[in-house]
Subunit: 725 residues, 2 copies
């Protein structure tokens, strides 16, 4: 990380006050902001490199070799912008590039040279360049007389304003103000932003997704979940849209790939962009998740997945179209199931409630503190109780515009037409001038996947669910539609038959209309959405009102918790910020665990184990070439120590969540020995709490990555590009 | 074992020639006849008792404390005939004793004194008293001109004749001629036979069947699968039917219960009555199992279980009625699935084929041997090919009289009426004079479980399957019924409505009729069965013909395999007789295993682990009392060494199969430290082959048995009766 921004050292100082690093242990909860690394005593845990070479505000360092690839993480593994990330992170790119005749999901893809590389529309890469604490500038806009809705809008607007200011000062970069602690701490991050990303190498799904949904969120694992992509920039080195004239991006730092891999008990650390955790939330939030939201998601997504799988069963083209959606729904569905199971089994809500009772006693032990904070917990409680009470209707309405792609597109049209009329800084973030180009691309990509027969099923089902909730009593637009099962069927059928939302020109036209002109558009989905829009605006404002209340309450709660912690009573862990898509470091060891009584899971799997699992039937259908090479014991230089075998996947006790997909697993010397891609089923609960006994992350072993790349697919040029041999 | 029979030492000598004990290892394939114990060098493996005290023809020994309880094994654990066996072995007794008001399956049962003990109709207990090799006397009846059908019938008749002779010489005892090696070796066993068996103590199913079908055939396990029963005899000590005047049986030897249990790596041995293995069968048999019979069973039983579960869902009385059948079908269904998986994954058929190719080369290497045995394997092959070709129809017909209880009763009536007309020794075994009383009791017990609504579903489904196989083309009796789906429905409906088979008097009358009189019985099932009977006779004769062919072929193959083995080329394991329901010893160690890559399963589970699994929902609903005692850490003297916990189940590398249920797990001193009740899923394949890497048996730890008995249900009188404290 190298930067000319004067505020970098300052940022360090400010952040240092946030995080209290707990006693040094072999593995610990925490997705630490990189600003904390200097204080983390990683050397005593086994780190052999200079910690100042992981993150350094003054010169190029390890984090300069790490990038965010859409919602995932990647590593630059060559000076030519070659990125190593997960197969499932590149999945949408592989899917878009695939046709019936060139089915790269089924057969894999190898670009033999730069010219063969395939553009990945919708992909971008960002590299953290600097950060600055802007809490006071953000919170300054809040006045005591504001409503909670106004509070949320003012904070959002100020975040956008600060981003705009930073981007004006640093042309070509992307700025983002991230909330580190709700209502309390805000940090401005500046990113290099690359828009031309291409697919370089992807193994077939039978490698990259070996085990599929059966093995997803499970250990032991035998998935070769990796792909290579490449970042391109204009000839002058600046960020540019795709052009054949673009040239590979030259990263400030290359992550060294270590072909010797890692061993059991070794120290490892991950750098990456974990997406979202909610560990500071109260017991009443956990109760809402356990009783309302997670069961809703598990049930609805389960139904959607089954419906789409049935639709694609006898038609590979339809299956390809729906593959990415099914995969992402299945991922969330199983994670949610794991979280539900964890919440029930580990009695998280009750345990957090007990912690809060101790905190409440602490609050009440001092009259001033009591006056200031005595009602915080009960006020937070009342927000979640309201969410629980209105949960079924709100979740069903929100999922109507997610389940039906036509409804989703219609919402995007109506919403963007209205939002784009507002001053830039007052819009919902995705409609801001700086990102709208990117946002509108996603609309057209989504349109590609629109499959009307499935959409009709989704729409009818969501309408039936709304009817069961008596939604038409409150929402006029639904009145005629939700009258009876027959009227629902008829509406779904006729709308899907009549809609023009599958037409790119139509979509483009709609997006360019004024709100008034939109009312005259003759499309059943657009018509319905124009009528429903006030309902959705109401939902959004209700959310922002709650967000405003929670922002104030959690901001104050954070301060009390800090006092509690400094008084030696609270857990110090509460002072590590939740994951929020910004750069973090986590560390641990390569180690197994015991998920249940009398079962121990060891931390390294093997090719032998993978072949024992291979049935020849999807998702356990490894390519024939692997069987051949295995039979010949042709393992190149990727043998596992003294064993005549190749290690496939590794397990380690780091603290990760979604967004850490593709994170490099680094050894004590900062060399890449694996690629993070998943967590164990028990560790799905990480989003709520981390524990050394069950929280394990899963990565593909670099030796397997290299063996597949070199031996199975003969991509020796990539091996050479990484400087391996 | 104490006996006055002169032939006991002789038997020893003869059997010794059969089994070649392989090199001494820590655990080994083999369900060894007790005659082999003296040669097995158990002392070098860790046995601390005198091997001559396990089995001794001259004086009371350990095997005198072991009994067969119906199809299970039990141990005499007090001088008052108290038997310790599995909950699932006592299940039918508990079920029969249960009513809506006294639901002993749900609540458990404790007899506070002898008078409270509940008779277990249909149960009997046998104790092995002696054995004698009678191979030459059996095979003497075979003449060269006999057809294969005649051969089978002659051998069966001679077996019955030898049994009758022995029972005449030893009044009150039960004799059985067991085939040790097909067509080659026959041994006459004499048993003490006890007909009055009573239920003494059963934990509720939430303990005795904790984990239910979910955990069945799985490890780790937390099932308290034990019950106490008691054997009763007449006042003069002789076997007698149930009478309130009967007195507890006094066993010649009591198995000492060792409350300190066992530790990891300890030597253990089991004595018991393993039911049936088929390890000497050829690759073509495995092929038949894999391609025809097992898939048929898995599919059909799966359907039957689902149908019965649906029927009992909202009616506890119906559920109770069907519980035992569901349990036994589910057990076979899952075992069959495990076997199918093992056959596929381990490629057993191909491996056995390769062994047979080596054997064939050995046969062909000598012209004389070739002349004598050159075609044996191919002739065996042709029998199984014939079975495979006719498998669907034959299996469907056989399952028609198993799936429908009314059809089953009708068959029993027609078959017994015909068989009972024959001379005693020529009948099918179950209709012989000595056992018919017992056999007919099972008819009436089965009648108790007849549930006509479910029977109608079963009947219609089996008829639909026969129609799909075009059975009516060959079987006239089916012609009008199998015409159309409607005619099937109509027949099933009207037959179930009209049948009198639910009436005990009617059943009794039918059983007493002559074949001619039977033809006039006005019951739709009896009428159909009278017409179908020739078809079933044909099936039986076809089976006997195949049995005759296989008997001759396998008998000759055995001799060749012995030569092969003595020539140092074949596996010595082939010379250990298959399980056949006679007394056997197996040994191994308490040890874990690795079922798949990166997973290790440890051999002892704990109460802590059991409670972690408890959800409060069946089958994971442990009684509240257990939770209470656990919370209070009230573990009595049943703690697991240094841990503040009670061990629940244990895993060990012995060689077991069905029939070993209830077998005592004995420590090196011959003391009871557990009760065998299951195998791991991987070990379902034991019936075809045993391997140290995956074959593990599962038992309940004696400390859990005693803790439940004493602490949870306060049956201190049983603890005292076992001499514990």
């Amino acid at each position: 990380m190298k930067s000319s921004f004067a505020f970098r050292p300052l940022a360090l100082n400010l952040l240092l006050q946030l995080v209290i690093v707990a006693g040094v242990t072999q593995a610990d909860e925490g997705m630490f902001p990189v600003s904390e690394i200097a204080r983390m005593k990683l050397t005593t845990l086994g780190l052999t490199m200079d910690p100042a070479d992981i993150f350094n505000a003054e010169r190029a360092c390890l984090v300069d070799g790490i990038c965010r690839v859409n919602g995932c993480t990647g590593s630059f593994v060559s000076p030519q912008g070659l990125i190593l990330t997960n197969h499932h992170c590149a999945y949408a790119a592989i899917q878009k590039a695939s046709t019936k005749d060139h089915d790269y999901l089924a057969n894999g893809f190898v670009a033999r040279n730069l010219a063969d590389e395939i553009p990945a529309p919708g992909y971008n890469v960002r590299i953290t360049e600097s950060f600055e604490d802007v809490s006071s500038r953000v919170l300054n806009v809040v006045t005591p007389t504001m409503s909670f809705l106004e509070r949320t809008k003012a904070i959002e607007k100020q975040q956008r304003a600060l981003e705009k200011e930073a981007e004006t000062n640093h042309p070509g970069m992307r700025a983002e103000v991230a909330e580190m602690f709700v209502g309390e701490r805000y940090v401005l991050f500046l990113y290099t932003f690359i828009k031309d990303v291409r697919l370089v190498f992807a193994p077939p799904s039978s490698v990259g997704n070996f085990g599929g949904e059966v093995d997803n969120w499970e250990w032991p694992r035998h998935t070769g979940d990796f792909s290579f992509m490449r970042a391109y920039v204009g000839r002058d080195g600046s960020s540019a849209d795709y052009s054949p004239d673009n040239v590979p991006y030259k990263p400030k730092r290359v992550i060294k790939v270590q072909p010797q891999g890692v061993n059991e008990n070794d120290f490892v650390m991950l750098l990456g962009y974990p997406g979202r955790t909610v560990r500071h939330n109260t017991a009443s939030f956990l109760q809402y998740e356990q009783a309302v939201r997670l069961p809703f998601v598990v049930e609805l997504y389960g139904w959607q997945i089954a419906t789409m799988e049935a639709a694609g069963e006898n038609d590979r083209a339809v299956a390809l179209k729906l593959a990415s959606r099914i995969k992402s729904l299945a991922n969330v569905e199983k994670r949610s199931r794991g979280q539900l199971q964890g919440l029930h089994q580990l009695k998280f809500a009750a345990r957090r409630k007990a912690e809060e009772e101790r905190l409440q006693s602490f609050i009440e032990s001092d009259p001033q503190r009591r006056a200031r904070a005595g009602n915080l917990l009960s006020e937070i409680d009342s927000v979640y109780k309201e969410m629980a009470a209105q949960g079924q209707l709100e979740l069903t309405l929100k999922n109507l515009t997610a389940a039906s792609q036509a409804m989703s597109l219609a919402f995007s049209i109506v919403d963007s037409v209205h939002e784009r009329k507002k001053p830039d800084l007052e819009r919902e973030k995705i409609y801001g001038d700086k990102v709208f180009n990117q946002t509108s691309k996603t609309f057209f990509l989504q349109q590609n996947d629109l499959h009307l027969p499935v959409d009709e099923l989704m729409l009818a089902e969501m309408l039936r669910r709304l009817a069961a909730l008596n939604a038409h009593q409150d929402i006029n637009a639904f009145s005629p539609i939700l009258q009876s099962p027959e009227s629902i069927e008829a509406f779904a059928k006729s709308s899907v038959a009549a809609t023009k939302l599958g037409d790119a020109e139509f979509l483009k036209t709609c997006l360019s209309l004024s709100p008034i002109a939109l009312q005259k558009v003759d499309d059943p989905f657009v018509k319905l959405m124009v009528e429903l829009y006030p309902t959705y605006l109401q939902l959004r404002e209700k959310d922002k009102d709650r967000e405003g209340r929670l922002s104030r309450l959690y901001g104050e709660l954070f301060n009390v918790k800090r006092e509690f912690s400094l008084a030696g009573q609270g857990s110090t862990g509460v002072l590590v910020p939740d994951a929020n898509g910004t750069l973090r470091l986590t560390y641990g060891r390569v180690e197994g665990y015991s998920p249940v009584d009398a079962v121990y899971k060891a931390p390294i799997t093997s090719l032998t184990g993978m072949l024992a699992k291979s049935t020849g039937m999807e998702p356990f259908n490894s390519p024939h070439k692997i069987t051949e090479l295995y039979a010949a014991r042709d393992f190149g230089s990727y043998r596992f120590k003294d064993k005549n075998d190749v290690p496939v996947a590794i397990l380690y006790s780091t603290d990760t969540t979604g967004g850490n997909s593709g994170s490099p697993v680094l050894n004590a010397g900062g060399e890449l020995v694996g690629l993070n891609f998943d967590r164990t089923f028990e560790a799905t609960i990480n989003d709520f709490a981390w524990d050394h006994s069950y929280s394990r992350s899963i990565g593909v072993d670099i030796r397997y990555v290299l063996w597949i790349t070199e031996k199975v697919y003969g991509a020796n040029h990539l091996i050479a590009e990484m400087g391996i041999h």
